[in-house]
C-alpha cells in the first residue's frame, strides 16, 4: 500500500544537542537543523549546588587554581560559565574586506569535575551538602569546615527584577496589597443566590415541585 503521508518521527530530547545558545534562539535552531548528532551523556546530579554569583575555583585548564564568579548555568549539560575564565579568542563580524573584531568568549566548565565551590571561611575548595537549619531553612554546608555557604542573591535574579521587593509594578499588575487582602466572606448561599444578592434581585415566587421520571 502506498503511504501518502511522509514518515514523521517525533523529535525526542536526544535529537537535540543542548549548547550555550538557549533553545529559543536562532543559533540553536541552526545548530540542530541537520541530522541529529550523537547523544551526549550527562551525569545526573541529585542536588544542584552551584548558582549564579557563586565563587568557584577552576580545577582544570589554563586557569587552574583561579577563583571566579559564576555568570551562567546550563543544567541540561551540567555546565557553568565562570566570568573571565577559561576563555578563547574568536572573531565576530568577519567579512570579505573586514577582518572582524576579536573578542574573548568563555567556555563552559563541567560542574562535576572541572569546578568546585569555595569555602568563604578559608578560601579553599570544598564539597557541599544540603542540610536543614533549626529554622527549617535548606542551606548548603561545607563538608570540610561546616560553614554555611549562602545561596547568592544573583541566583534569584530574573529578567523582571533583581530583587522581588524592587520589582516595579506595571499597569496590568494587580498591586501586592490588593492581592494579599482577604475579602472572601463565606455565606450559606449557592453561587446563584450570591449573584442575586449582589445584584439586588429579590424573588418572592416559589417554584413548583418538579419530578423526574
Amino acid at each position: 500500500m502506498i503511504q501518502y503521508l511522509p514518515y514523521q518521527r517525533k523529535r525526542r530530547t536526544q535529537d537535540f544537542r543542548f549548547t550555550t545558545n538557549r533553545p529559543w534562539t536562532q543559533e540553536f535552531k541552526r545548530e540542530n537543523e541537520g541530522l541529529p548528532r550523537s547523544e551526549v551523556f550527562i551525569e545526573p546530579i541529585k542536588d544542584w549546588s552551584i548558582f549564579r554569583g557563586d565563587r568557584v575555583e577552576i580545577l582544570v585548564g589554563r586557569d587552574k587554581g583561579k577563583h571566579g564568579i559564576v555568570s551562567q548555568i546550563f543544567e541540561e549539560r551540567n555546565w557553568v560559565i565562570v566570568n573571565g575564565m577559561n576563555w578563547y579568542y574568536r572573531r565576530i563580524g568577519e567579512s570579505d574586506d573586514y577582518p572582524g573584531t576579536i573578542i574573548r568568549q568563555e567556555l563552559p566548565l563541567l560542574v562535576t569535575t572541572e569546578v568546585s565551590l569555595v569555602d568563604p571561611s578559608d578560601n579553599k575548595i570544598t564539597k557541599v551538602v544540603w542540610r536543614y537549619t533549626e529554622d527549617g531553612e535548606k542551606v548548603r554546608v561545607s563538608s570540610r569546615t561546616g560553614r554555611i555557604i549562602p545561596v547568592p542573591a544573583a541566583a534569584n535574579e530574573t529578567y523582571d527584577y533583581k530583587v522581588k521587593s524592587a520589582y516595579l509594578e506595571g499597569d496590568k499588575d494587580t498591586k501586592s496589597d490588593v492581592v494579599e487582602k482577604v475579602t472572601f466572606q463565606p455565606e450559606l448561599k449557592t453561587f446563584d443566590m450570591d449573584v442575586m444578592k449582589s445584584m439586588g434581585i429579590e424573588e418572592d415566587r416559589t417554584p413548583k415541585k418538579s419530578y423526574w421520571y
Binding site: 502506498i2 521587593s165 509594578e169 494587580t174 498591586k175 490588593v178 492581592v179 443566590m193 416559589t206 417554584p207
Partner: protein, 192 residues
C-alpha cells in the same frame, strides 16, 4: 458510460501499481450539476483558523456563501426534523460588569506574598456559620437534651425543604426539563 471513462477503468486494472489518477469527464443525466464543482480552484476552509482569519475570509470577494464560516459552534436551539428551532434562552447573554476603577488586573505583581490557604470545604462553611453560636449556647446551657438549640438563629432554624426552595428561587435553569433530541420530536407520518 463514456468511452473515456471505460478506458480509464481498464488502464487502472492493468496498472494497479502505478495508481495514477486519470481525470475524466462524465455526462450528468440529471438537469442539476449534482453539486459537481471544480474544487481544485476553490479554496474551502474548515472550522479551523483564528477569528480574524475567518472575518477576512467573509469579506473576501471569492467567498462562497454556501460554505459557511463558523466562529461560534455552540448551539442556540435544536433541530426539529429539517428545521432548526432557536431557543432564546440558549443564546448566550454575556454580562460584563463595569471594570472602571477595578483594583484587580490581569497579572499579579511579583512582590505579592501569595499565601497557601487551606481548602474551603463544607466543614469550614459549617464552622463559619454555626460554630460560634453553638459554642456560646453550650457555655450558657441554652442547648436542650438532644443538643438542639433552645433559641435558634436564622441559619439554625432553616429546614432542608426551605433551603431547597430558596436555592430553586434563583430561576437557574440547571433544574429545568431537558431539551428534546431530534428523534424525540419527529412524528410518524405514516398515512398522511
Amino acid at each position: 458510460m463514456s468511452l473515456q471513462r471505460m478506458m480509464c477503468v481498464f488502464s487502472s486494472r492493468t496498472s494497479n501499481l502505478l495508481l495514477t489518477t486519470v481525470p475524466f469527464r462524465t455526462i450528468a443525466t440529471t438537469s442539476t450539476r449534482m453539486g459537481k464543482k471544480n474544487f481544485r480552484s476553490i479554496f474551502i476552509g474548515n472550522k479551523r483558523g483564528s477569528r480574524i482569519y475567518k472575518e477576512t475570509r467573509i469579506k473576501d470577494p471569492d467567498y462562497i456563501s454556501d460554505i459557511p464560516v463558523y466562529t461560534d459552534v455552540k448551539p442556540i436551539g435544536y433541530r426539529y426534523g429539517k428545521e432548526y428551532r432557536v431557543i432564546p434562552e440558549m443564546i448566550p447573554d454575556i454580562i460584563v460588569p463595569d471594570l472602571t476603577d477595578c483594583p484587580l488586573k490581569p497579572y499579579v505583581s511579583y512582590r505579592a506574598n501569595v499565601a497557601v490557604q487551606e481548602e474551603f470545604t463544607a466543614k469550614t462553611l459549617f464552622s463559619f456559620v454555626y460554630e460560634e453560636k453553638i459554642k456560646k449556647d453550650f457555655a450558657n446551657q441554652k442547648l436542650d437534651a438532644s443538643s438542639l438549640p433552645l433559641e435558634p438563629s436564622d441559619a439554625e432554624s432553616l429546614s432542608s425543604e426551605t433551603a431547597y426552595l430558596e436555592a430553586r428561587k434563583t430561576g437557574s435553569d440547571i433544574f429545568s426539563e431537558r431539551i428534546p433530541r431530534h428523534w424525540e420530536c419527529l412524528e410518524l407520518k405514516s398515512d398522511k
